[in-house]
Every structure is written in structure tokens, then in C-alpha cells.
């Protein structure tokens, strides 16, 4: 799935990005906001993102898939806590 947006100069592939991030062991849903990929990880995956190598890998994957920015949201209700997904959930 590609996500064109205002001012787009690139083709972004959110589905492929979410799958690639999942292969790093980071389970999350992914919300696309233009060039920003917003990750909503399950609680158990937050720790993985504390590792610099994992963050670098996520950033590199995001660039490969056409995103300029990646952010992580950790809502107060711990959205996704205890909900270990087998496949990434996409939202837009």
C-alpha cells in the first residue's frame, strides 16, 4: 500500500515498512502522516527501541521506504499492552 500525501515527492510504502520493522522484533501498529511514520509499539517492544542499533535500523528502513521522519507514540492507556500482534496493524 502506498500513501500519497500533500507535497509528496516520493512513494511511501507503509505496509512494507511495518513488515520490515516487525522483522526487527518490534511489534507495532503504524500510522502514516505524510512523510512521518508514527509507530505505536506494544509495550514489550518499547524496550527494543531503547537500543541505539534498533533505532538506527528502524530509521534506515523508514528512509528506504520513503519516510523522512519516524516517531514513537506510547499512549497513556498503553495501547497494545498485552496485545502481541502477529502482523503489523496499519492506520491512516
Amino acid at each position: 500500500m502506498t500513501q500519497p500525501d500533500r507535497g509528496d515527492r516520493t512513494t511511501r510504502n507503509a505496509t512494507a515498512l511495518a513488515a520490515a520493522i516487525a522483522r526487527l522484533g518490534v511489534q507495532c501498529s503504524l500510522e502514516v502522516r505524510g512523510g512521518l511514520a508514527l509507530l505505536l509499539p506494544v509495550t514489550s517492544s518499547v524496550e527494543a527501541l531503547q537500543a541505539p542499533d534498533t533505532r538506527r535500523a528502524v530509521l534506515a528502513l523508514a528512509r528506504e521506504h520513503g519516510f523522512t521522519h519516524v516517531a514513537i507514540e506510547l499512549p497513556s492507556d498503553r495501547r497494545g499492552a498485552g496485545r502481541e500482534t502477529d502482523a503489523p496493524l496499519l492506520r491512516d
Binding site: G7, R33, G34, L36, L39, L49, V58, A71, E73, S76
Partner: protein
């Protein structure tokens, strides 16, 4: 050959500049000459790293009667920076004049196009330059540095249109040169993070309003109150705040309990959702997001 210590000059007689970077010392001398040749000089003064250094260098080179630091105040100018600017001026005996500017009243600015800064600086210089000239200051200068020349800076055009000089850029002062020179002068701004106006936190096309600027200012103040040091931006994505932190700050704020504190602080300022940018702070982040460049 080892010199007996008794033959060394007393430490207080040693010229401190002998220990400084000779390239920087040369630039400082060039700046003093530039200022002396064009005095009296009025300076657009925000209290940021660059304009604070320029104002103090001018005060030292020209004395108090031939320099005037002019502050343009508006909702896009953070209160904390205004206070810092006044403190620098007070500490270094730099004469200050404050003017109100009204860039938000210009619909071309408020619409937040990618050349928004042009309209802001047009408003600033159209107020500052006539006042400076009326007071006998034939030269008006700003703190643009050599690094800025390679960045997307539409505001620089407005400066040129109003005859504003940029001696730091002209003389090849990079940001690091300015920080080093500021440290030597014991300016409190020497390690201060860069501090562009609050409107820079809004993506292009999102209207600039006083309420949004105030929300951003409160959000960044709240994060400073949590102890976040260094570069910090709260990027405004309507319901979502995207926080950019310095690279060395980022890991500890990804720890869930700290992230909770960060999120709670920003929700209290009106954001519904809070996120942390995984790359951390980068100058011109929203230019990258919109594919805008020099």
C-alpha cells in the same frame, strides 16, 4: 631545554589571546575592524547565540554610545528568550531598545507558507531600520552566520532588501566560531541551544495563531521543567506533539516511566497525543518533512 620556573613571566602578564585559536582571534579582530569602520551600529537582537555575541562584540569594540541592540517582540518570540536577551544586555552593558512587531497580523505570514520567514523579517526590519536611522545608526546588522548561508533562510532576502548587514556571515564566522568566541567572552549563551522562533514548530500550511504559539511555548517550557537539556523542539502536528530531543537525551526518555512524565506534561498543555522522534533533534526538521531546501 627546560626553563627554570623563576624565569617564566607571572601568569597574570600572559596575554590570554595567545592561548586562543589564531584563526578565531583573527576573525575577532576582523569583526572589531568591521564594526569600527561602520559605527554607530544597531543590531537586531534576539538574545540567541549569534546576535548576543555580535551585540557584545560591538559593545566591546565601540563603547556604549555607538551600539544599540534592538529587540522585536511578538507572540512568536518566546518569553524565556526575551528574558535571556535582557539579561545578556544588562550583564554586558549593551544599550537595548524594544519594539513590538506584528507579523501575525500579516495574512501572508499567518498562512505559514514555506517562505514565512520572509514576511516575518520584512515586518521586523521595516520597523527596526527606520527607528535605528532616526537615532543616527547608519548601519543595521543581524546575527546571520556563515553556516546559515547554506540553509533555507528566506528571511535573509528581507534583510538584504532593507540594507541589513550580516558581518558574522561576511567574515566567515561559523556557529562553532561564535560559540568559541562567546565562551572566551564568558557569554552565558555560548552553549545555549539554537533558538528559532516558535512558528518554526508548525508545519508549513498550518496557520500560525497566537494560541498555537502559546501552546508550543508552554509545552517546551514544561519539558525544560522536567530537566530536559540541550536542543529541544515540540513540533506541532495538530492533535499530535512530536518531540525532538538531543541525541544524548533521547534514550532515557524512551524509558516508559519517563515517557509517561513527558506525555503527561504535554497533554496538560493541550496536545491529545505525544510522540518522540526516533532520530532526535535536527535543525530544519519540518523543511525536510516538506521537501523544502535551499
Amino acid at each position: 631545554m627546560e626553563v627554570p620556573s623563576a624565569t617564566l613571566p607571572p601568569i597574570m602578564d600572559i596575554d590570554a589571546t595567545a592561548f586562543s585559536d589564531p584563526i578565531l582571534a583573527g576573525k575577532e579582530a576582523d569583526l572589531a575592524s568591521w564594526l569600527s569602520a561602520r559605527a554607530p551600529v544597531a543590531i537586531g537582537f534576539s538574545g540567541g547565540v549569534d546576535s548576543a555575541y555580535l551585540a557584545v562584540a560591538a559593545r566591546l569594540a565601540l563603547g556604549p554610545d555607538r551600539v544599540l541592540a534592538i529587540i522585536g517582540r511578538s507572540p512568536s518570540y518566546p518569553e524565556a528568550q526575551w528574558a535571556a536577551a535582557r539579561e545578556v544586555a544588562r550583564s554586558f552593558d549593551v544599550p537595548v531598545l524594544e519594539l513590538d512587531t506584528a507579523e501575525l497580523d500579516d495574512p501572508r505570514y499567518a498562512a505559514n507558507p514555506s517562505n514565512r520567514c520572509y514576511f516575518c523579517k520584512t515586518e521586523l526590519w521595516s520597523r527596526v531600520v527606520p527607528v535605528a536611522r532616526e537615532r543616527g545608526f547608519g548601519t543595521v546588522a543581524d546575527g546571520t552566520n556563515a553556516d546559515d548561508l547554506s540553509d533555507w533562510r528566506p528571511g535573509a532576502q528581507a534583510g538584504r532588501e532593507h540594507g541589513v548587514a550580516s558581518p558574522l556571515a561576511e567574515l566567515g564566522f561559523t556557529k562553532q566560531h561564535i560559540r568559541d568566541a562567546s565562551k572566551r567572552l564568558e557569554l552565558p549563551t555560548w552553549q545555549q541551544p539554537s533558538s528559532p522562533c516558535l512558528s518554526s514548530r508548525l508545519p508549513y500550511g498550518i496557520e500560525v495563531t497566537p494560541a498555537r504559539l502559546k501552546q508550543i511555548e508552554r509545552a517546551e517550557s514544561a519539558l525544560r521543567a522536567l530537566g530536559i537539556a540541550g536542543d529541544l523542539r515540540v513540533r506541532y502536528h495538530e492533535d499530535l506533539a512530536r518531540v525532538e530531543l538531543a541525541a544524548d537525551e533521547l534514550p532515557r526518555w524512551l524509558e516508559p516511566r519517563r515517557f509517561d512524565a513527558l506525555r503527561d506534561a504535554l497533554v496538560a498543555t493541550g496536545f491529545e497525543r505525544v510522540s518522540l522522534d526516533l532520530r532526535g533533534f535536527r535543525s530544519g526538521s519540518l523543511n525536510v518533512l516538506h521537501g523544502v531546501g535551499a
